[in-house]
Symmetry: C2
Subunit: 729 residues, 2 copies
Amino acid sequence: MKKQNKLFFLIIFICTIYVHGLFAQNTNNNATWIWYPGDYEIWLNNEMQARRTERGAFFPPLWRYYSPYSLVTFTKDFNLAKPDVVNIKVEGQAKVQLDGQMYYGALENMEIPSGKHTITIKVYNQKGVPTLFVEGNNLVSDSSWLVTYEDKEWIDESGLASGVSGTEWEQVGSWNFNSVTALPSEYKLETTPWYVQNQETYKNGFVADFGKETFGYIKLHGLKGVGSVTVYYGESMEEAKSEQFCETLDRVQVTENTDSEYVIESSKAFRYVNVQTEGEVKLDSVSMLYEYLPLDYKGSFKCSDEQLNKIWDVSAYTMHLTTREFFIDGIKRDRWVWSGDAYQSYLMNYYLFFDNPSVKRTMYALRGKEPVNTHINTIMDYSLYWFLGVYDYYKFSGDKEFVKQIYPRMKTLMDFCLKRRNTNGMMEGLTGDWVFIDWADGLSKQGEVSFEQLLLARSLETMALCAKINEDIENEKFYKTEAGTLKKKIFEQFWSKDKGAFLHNSVHDTTEDKVTRYTNMFAIFFNYLSEEKKEAVKTNVLLNDNVQQITTPYMRFYELEALCQLGEQKYVLNEIRNYWGGMLQLGATSFWEKYDPNEKGEKQLAMYGRPYGKSLCHAWGASPVYLFGKYYLGVQPLTPGYETYKIEPVLGGLQWMEGTVPTPYGNISIYTTTKEIKVSAKGGIGTLLFKSVRKPSVTNGTIEKIGHQQYQLTIQPNTNYRIKYKAVE
Amino acid sequence: MKKQNKLFFLIIFICTIYVHGLFAQNTNNNATWIWYPGDYEIWLNNEMQARRTERGAFFPPLWRYYSPYSLVTFTKDFNLAKPDVVNIKVEGQAKVQLDGQMYYGALENMEIPSGKHTITIKVYNQKGVPTLFVEGNNLVSDSSWLVTYEDKEWIDESGLASGVSGTEWEQVGSWNFNSVTALPSEYKLETTPWYVQNQETYKNGFVADFGKETFGYIKLHGLKGVGSVTVYYGESMEEAKSEQFCETLDRVQVTENTDSEYVIESSKAFRYVNVQTEGEVKLDSVSMLYEYLPLDYKGSFKCSDEQLNKIWDVSAYTMHLTTREFFIDGIKRDRWVWSGDAYQSYLMNYYLFFDNPSVKRTMYALRGKEPVNTHINTIMDYSLYWFLGVYDYYKFSGDKEFVKQIYPRMKTLMDFCLKRRNTNGMMEGLTGDWVFIDWADGLSKQGEVSFEQLLLARSLETMALCAKINEDIENEKFYKTEAGTLKKKIFEQFWSKDKGAFLHNSVHDTTEDKVTRYTNMFAIFFNYLSEEKKEAVKTNVLLNDNVQQITTPYMRFYELEALCQLGEQKYVLNEIRNYWGGMLQLGATSFWEKYDPNEKGEKQLAMYGRPYGKSLCHAWGASPVYLFGKYYLGVQPLTPGYETYKIEPVLGGLQWMEGTVPTPYGNISIYTTTKEIKVSAKGGIGTLLFKSVRKPSVTNGTIEKIGHQQYQLTIQPNTNYRIKYKAVE
């Protein structure tokens, strides 16, 4: 290379820096609306949950609502290489201070000279959530800003240290409101038109079938005349036709001023609508605006069994319908955020959408604020699932920032729980507590229920983990000790050598001689059992028909997970075929709140003493998306955020299967037959584990033998692996 | 009487019952809007305090804001002799249940059959406060309803006791929104027109004088053309003319569409306005809408000294200007609710308006909700004054209902305070605390300040009293013990035998050798001192010019009160003449935040480093209304609510005085010369105490001699007493 060329490259290099500098100055497009963490989520959840109606009547949740702070202060230290001009926009009213000085000018085009600065913006909004959007060439509102609801500004003239009371400044909350016009208060899910598949005349109107379970706004077409139109919604045809007992309905008063096309204000869940008119009014037809949260289906699953493929598809659709502003239970009736239900949605989400914001929104919404004086959703187990949700979120996402942000609220909820323990150190249902566990006939909730203690032990372990992340050494030790003590006590008090299983509960210092599935199956995937005890539980409880059967998809979720952990994938596939396949045979287009194969006809639609009370699209019905991803494709993180992970594909009797599992790095792809495994991943270090009756070979890397017929292979990112092997039958 | 007549009377009697029954059915006009106690007050206070502006810029409080609950449940058990038709109106959305059954009908004309019922109405409103108005012939919303923000409805299917978690149902809050159209969310103070007394051309516009300090909305008259009109407000002419430094201003953009008469949106405090135009715009004149809380001036005072009469009048007006949605500090600048300032307003209110709702509103607004993690207004003394406010409110009003309603919030605030004590059991300023005491040069706030401990002792005594009213025996004992221990320690640590006074503070276990007035004067009216110590304090502190002088009307309030309690009414009258008379001589039409007779000219207007920073209408400037009522007319309750009270008129050198002091029963009227005392009262049992050099006589009742030249007379309600005597000079 000649000298001249060197100079030329140097010039290019300098120009590049300059251009890059300009770029940084002028195209900082990452401004986003920010708020006090959790407050927008709480507000939005209050609004969403209050959209439940029952036969036209307003039906908000029974549990307490929390409120956003109406006055908060945002702040940011920053350094400008050159002067900046910023636009400040708030929802509410703003007081701006630059370097401690009150700013009296307009919020548009505020000029800030170069150099080091601190900007402080107080926002007041008592009608909603105080939110802030700042957009300059350099200074923009983003997750690096801090916020407080306390006073950290007042200068104490006495000379005492001022400002910092109570808590530290906190990191702001944000989501995806990335333009000044995308006001958080005006957030709406997206909609798209959807048309009727079949319409037939019925009484004074018609019944329309949208082809499958859906959710959205009914649109009336060709309205003429004056009178009223009533829309009776049905997840089943029977429900839509039952004007007396359908769970939801809307009535529209049509006047001379009503447009011929009219969209009903509130969205509903249905497959069928029964449209009836009164008076002189007429209409031609209906369509709907399907309402949904835009999400990528990152996870996927296909296999040699078409029924299972259909089950996965319907599960994924069920999961999408119930993944809305938050993870809700069911779309027809409650439309509320229940911690136990949401906990399963988190898990399914990791194998389908891997949408962290949905998990975080839901966790904030459920937890609420201070002081804690009631269990989440009033249910003891639901407070405890909430901790488990943090554990899993960290495991799958590796998001330490969130763990830090939520940790203070974890501590206060745990304080609440620990204060409610009895003298034996166990949590019993106190006045006002609901001990739920499951919808199951004759299930005792009395006294010390072993299941609740098990959840508490796991919650305490979660606290220890999160205390460590927060460098809260003292509490880490405390939670560890408490978890250890409790686990020991659970085994002493509830493990029956006779039965080879955990007993259900103790009342008045006497442990009842009854076994249920709950504690036993959770102990398996909490990994609390020795191999010997695991086998005992499998035989004596999980595969024992004399132990009370589970009839909700909710607890089937865990039961099947426990069996998968015990290597019973083949058995579980059959269970899935029977149980979820059973719903499909009855015409399900989304999965249900409860399914009892023994119930016949319209009885399948009834629940809570109401003929159509049962929800036919319930998040907890969607567990196959989780089971297929985790226990058949066999992918799960080994260290937080998939930094390391394992892939342990199990065909469970299938001829082949293929699919993807999302991770923070991108998807892991797997294809398996009994002779071949193909794997690739976008990041992290994976370990592929598989069994082969003959020595396997691979295109890349080195297969290691780790036991009898057991092999492993390290999976590096962005490499296609193709393994030849012969599956163990 | 003939038999016939008896029958006639019987018929009349029956008819009367019937008519009375009808009356009761049809004219139940006592329905009022109800809400969760304190929530409306918190909401309204958030709104009011956010109306502060500084030179056009939004300036909300520095301290934390609390939020109302957005979802609350109201309930009422009732019994109908015959069917009722009720109208239910809410601010928000409502879910109605009658006897546990969901009601699907319209909220207008809901039919309720006769018999025993429970109605439960859940109201959701996240934009403001969920409020409820129910109006039937019998069933109406009033203070007998109960409310909760928790879940007390959920039926636990497990059979566990359901519903009652955390707290009991609470009594609802209400004020005076007594018609369905008087929506709490639309509350506004009243207004009345007020005209300019003098207007003179100034620069590009004019300066107008409204004759005295006032508060309201400026109205522009005869607007023509296009341009901007700027209104510079001034409590003084100097401030109005200082376009650069006046504290408040408003700018109106006048377009072709602007009406010729235009009312500025936000109300301000001023006596003068400087109206300047830019562009082609012109206007003729301004007037204003005076904005006020409608209140009766129940207390009154007149005497032989015209200057004192003027002082009383200006004090009363100052008090009225600062008694608004809440008791605020000053009308020009802060317009905020400060606990220490409000505490004095409560006391003045008892001798002027006796408006209990204003006290209760302010107490709720200041206290906020749970959890407590900062002092009220961030000031340690201001948390403690809040307790004293409850003490006095109960003493003057006798309102046990309020004490019961607020007691849970008293406990949590006291918990917060007690947890912040040091190992010596005393409260020192911790990080984030502001130890205020007074605006005074060089006043130490370091370490254990004796004044703060004294307030804490009194607060603990208040807690014991309120615990007793709430039948909380255990805590009554606890608070009593804590109060006793602390009082003992205060005397041991701070009382100096040498100085015959309390010392100011201890830093690092060493009590500083400095005396200030604060602890000493409060110890007097808390009645903590022996007669001997009282005399010592009077000589060594209160009448000792070497002890740092007080320059705020705020602490003058207490200093003069202490002197009055020591019988120094004559001395105090001269102090009032000099201090408040000094302000009048400088042209005050309302009393100031601070007055230092040594300051000259415009310096009197400056504060906080700003030339017009000082508030010229500050509640704490109005103390003469309190002192005249309590220590000259001499009236105060002996038992709560004036059930018993004393009148101890002291002329303090005046030839005569007359006046009224309000009580829950009505006014007590007093007229006194050196020879004659006239007294009458509407209720309660009074004791008139007076001194006479000769044996007095009275028109009614019997005068009792109780000491050398000392007499007493029992005052029965609704009786005019006229005593002949000869005053002791």
